[in-house]
C-alpha cells in the first residue's frame, strides 16, 4: 500500500487545489493521518473511494473529538478489494461554538450514516449534506451534547428515595437550575 505521503501527493495531483496536511502520529502505532480542508473533503473522499489503486471502499470508523479550540472528526478507511488500510482522514471545525459545520461523507460511504448522527448528537457537529441528521442516542428534546468535555451532568436528585433536608435542598437547587438553563424543559418524548 502507498505511504501517507504518497497518498497526499496522489490527492494533490488528482484534485488541484485540495488542501491536505500530513498529521504525524508519534505513538508506536505509527498510524499517520491526513487533515483535509472541509471545502474539498467530499471530492477527496470520492477520489479515495474510486481511485483504482487505493480503492478505499470501506469506511470503518467515524470518531468525533472535542479539542479545546475546535471539534474534529476522524474517518478510518480500509479497502475490502485490496485488503489494505487504514488510511485516516480528519477534518476540524473552525471553533466549537457557532461554526461547527462539516461536510457529511454519508453520500460517499453509507456506513457514516449512523456514526455521523451519533457525533451530531454527542458532540454537536452539524454535518451538511447528511440525509437524515437527527439525534441517535439521546432523545429529541434533549439540549446539549454529552460527549463534550465541558458538559455538565444534570444534578439529578432522584436516586435517594427518602427525601430529607439535604436531599430537598439539592432538589430545589436542581429545579432552579433546570428552569434557568432550559435544559430538560420537558421529559423524554415518544418521538
Amino acid at each position: 500500500m502507498k505511504s501517507v505521503e504518497e497518498i497526499k501527493s496522489a490527492i494533490e495531483a488528482a484534485i488541484p487545489g485540495a488542501a491536505v496536511e500530513l498529521v504525524s502520529n508519534p505513538s508506536p502505532s505509527g498510524q499517520h493521518s491526513l487533515r483535509l480542508a472541509p471545502e474539498c473533503a467530499v471530492a477527496v473522499a470520492k477520489f479515495l473511494r474510486d481511485d483504482a489503486e487505493l480503492a478505499l471502499d470501506f469506511l470503518s470508523n467515524v470518531t468525533g473529538i472535542d479539542w479545546p479550540d475546535s471539534l474534529e472528526v476522524v474517518y478510518h478507511l480500509y479497502s475490502v478489494t485490496k485488503k489494505h488500510g487504514p488510511v485516516i482522514i480528519r477534518m476540524h471545525t473552525v471553533n466549537r461554538t457557532d461554526q461547527v459545520e462539516l461536510p457529511s461523507l454519508t453520500p460517499i460511504w453509507r456506513s457514516a450514516e449512523f456514526q455521523e448522527r451519533e457525533i451530531f448528537d454527542l458532540f454537536g457537529i452539524i454535518f451538511t449534506g447528511h440525509p437524515d441528521l437527527r439525534r441517535l442516542l439521546m432523545w429529541e428534546s434533549f439540549k446539549d451534547h454529552p460527549m463534550r468535555k465541558d458538559y455538565v451532568e444534570p444534578d439529578d436528585f432522584e436516586y435517594e428515595p427518602t427525601a430529607h433536608d439535604e436531599v430537598l435542598k439539592r432538589a430545589q437547587a436542581h429545579k432552579d437550575r433546570e428552569q434557568g438553563s432550559g435544559i430538560r424543559e420537558q421529559g423524554p418524548t415518544t418521538a
Binding site: S27, S29, Q31, L59, I65, P86, P146
Partner: protein, 390 residues
C-alpha cells in the same frame, strides 16, 4: 413486484437510503416494534410503517441502553475500562477485552508473550462458537420453534461458559485480558478440560446442521428474504458473518493477521445470495472453522509466561498519540480508537461497534417484506444492545 425492482425504481443512487411509496390507497399503519418486543434482543425499537402487511418504512430508534461508556472511560485510567468492556457485547466479553487490549498495546507499543496469544485465540474462538450457536438458536426461536433449538445451543454455550468460569472466575464478566498478556495462566487441567469440550463440539454442529439446514419451514422462511447485495454491504460498513454471507471475502483474522492468526490453517466461508439463510449457514460453517482453530491452538500451545515481564498494566502514561486497533469479533469488526494526550486517562476513547453499524442497512433489507420477516431479518443481523447503545 420483487424487492430489487422496487428499490431500483425508487433509488437515485445505489448507496442512497432506500425509499418506498405505498402501492395501496395511501393509508399506512404505523407500528412501534419495541422497545419491549421479545424479538428485539433487548431494548430496541423499530418504527415501522405498513401497507397491509408489507413494510414501506422502517426507522430504528436507539439509545434505551445508552450510558455514555465512552465518556466514562475518559474519566478513568486505561486499566479501569477493561472490566467495563465486558458489558459492551455481553455475549462475547472475551473479544471485547481483546480488542481493547490490542488498541492499548498498539498505543504503548507492548509485546504479548506467545502463550498469552494462544490463550487469547483459544478463548476468542470459544467465544465465537458460543455466540454463533446462540445467535442461530435465537433466530430459530423467532421463527416460532420455541425453546428446543435455543436450548440445544445453550447446552453447548453452558459448557463453554463453565470453561470461562474455571479459568477467569466469571461466566460472562470475565475481565480476563491485560495490556501485554492475560490475567491468569491456564492450568494443565484446564487445557485438558478444554480439549474434551472442543472434541465434543463437532458432534453438536453436525447435529445442529442436520436438524436445521434442510428443514422445510426454515428454508421457506429464510431463503430470498432480506437480501443484501455485496456492493451495498461494503459501502455500508457491514462486517462479520453478515458481510461474508453476501459473498465478500473479508475476515480481519486473515486480512490483519492480528495476534497469531496467520499461523492457523482455516478457511473463510462465503455466501452466495446474502439472504437470511446464508447468514444462518455462514455461522454454522464458521463454527466448524473455529473448532479447527481451537484444535490447532490447543495442540501447539507453548509453555511460558502469560504476561510480558516489561508490561505496564496500571499507572502508565502513553506518549501523546493515537492508535486504532480492531479485531474480528463474532459480530463483525470491533475496533477501539484511543487518543492519548500524555495523561493517565485516554483523551478520547472510541468504540467501533459492529452491532450498530450492521444495522445501517436494516431498512434496506426489510423494505417490501412482510412484517413477520422483519423479525427474522433483524435476528439474522445478530446484535447485542449493550454494544449498539454503549
Amino acid at each position: 413486484m420483487s424487492l430489487t425492482e422496487i428499490k431500483n425504481e425508487k433509488l437515485e443512487g445505489w448507496n442512497r437510503p432506500a425509499r418506498m411509496e405505498s402501492g395501496g390507497d395511501g393509508e399506512l399503519l404505523e407500528v412501534a416494534m419495541g422497545p419491549h418486543h421479545p424479538s428485539t434482543h433487548g431494548v430496541f425499537r423499530m418504527d415501522v410503517a405498513l401497507d397491509g402487511e408489507r413494510v414501506v418504512r422502517l426507522k430504528p430508534v436507539f439509545g434505551y441502553l445508552h450510558r455514555n461508556h465512552e465518556k466514562i472511560a475518559e474519566g478513568q485510567s486505561y486499566l479501569a475500562s477493561m472490566p467495563y468492556t465486558d458489558r459492551l457485547d455481553y455475549i462475547c466479553p472475551i473479544t471485547n477485552n481483546w480488542a481493547y487490549a490490542l488498541a492499548v498495546e498498539k498505543l504503548t507499543g507492548q509485546e504479548v508473550p506467545e502463550r498469552a496469544e494462544y490463550l487469547r485465540v483459544i478463548l476468542g474462538e470459544l467465544t465465537r462458537f458460543q455466540n454463533h450457536a446462540s445467535s442461530i438458536g435465537f433466530l430459530i426461536q423467532e421463527m416460532g420453534a420455541s425453546g428446543t433449538p435455543l436450548m440445544y445451543a445453550f447446552r453447548e454455550r453452558e459448557k463453554i461458559l463453565d470453561l470461562f468460569e474455571e479459568l477467569t472466575g466469571a461466566r460472562m464478566m470475565v475481565n480476563y485480558m491485560r495490556f501485554g498478556g492475560c490475567r491468569v495462566d491456564a492450568s494443565p487441567q484446564w487445557l485438558d478440560h478444554a480439549r474434551k469440550v472442543v472434541a465434543a463440539l463437532a458432534g453438536f454442529v453436525d447435529e445442529f446442521e442436520r436438524f436445521l439446514a434442510t428443514n422445510e419451514i426454515l428454508m421457506a422462511r429464510t431463503q430470498g428474504v432480506g437480501v443484501l447485495r455485496p456492493e451495498l454491504a461494503v459501502n455500508a460498513g457491514v462486517t462479520g458473518p453478515m458481510l461474508r454471507a453476501s459473498g465478500v471475502n473479508y475476515d480481519i483474522r486473515k486480512v490483519d493477521g492480528y495476534g497469531i492468526y496467520s499461523r492457523f490453517n482455516f478457511r473463510v466461508p462465503l455466501g452466495d445470495h446474502g439472504d437470511v439463510y446464508d447468514r444462518f449457514m455462514i455461522r454454522i460453517l464458521e463454527m466448524r472453522e473455529s473448532i479447527g482453530i481451537l484444535q490447532q491452538a490447543l495442540k501447539d500451545i507453548p509453555a511460558g509466561p502469560v504476561m510480558s515481564p516489561t508490561a505496564k498494566i496500571r499507572g502508565f502514561r502513553p506518549k501523546p498519540g493515537e492508535a486504532y486497533g480492531r479485531i474480528e469479533a463474532p459480530k463483525g469488526e470491533l475496533g477501539f480508537y484511543l487518543i492519548s494526550d500524555g495523561g493517565s486517562n485516554p483523551y478520547r476513547y472510541r468504540i467501533r461497534p459492529p452491532s450498530l453499524i450492521n444495522l445501517t442497512i436494516l431498512e434496506d433489507m426489510c423494505l417490501g417484506h412482510d412484517i413477520a420477516d422483519v423479525v427474522l431479518i433483524f435476528g439474522s443481523v445478530d446484535i447485542v444492545l449493550g454494544e449498539v447503545d454503549r
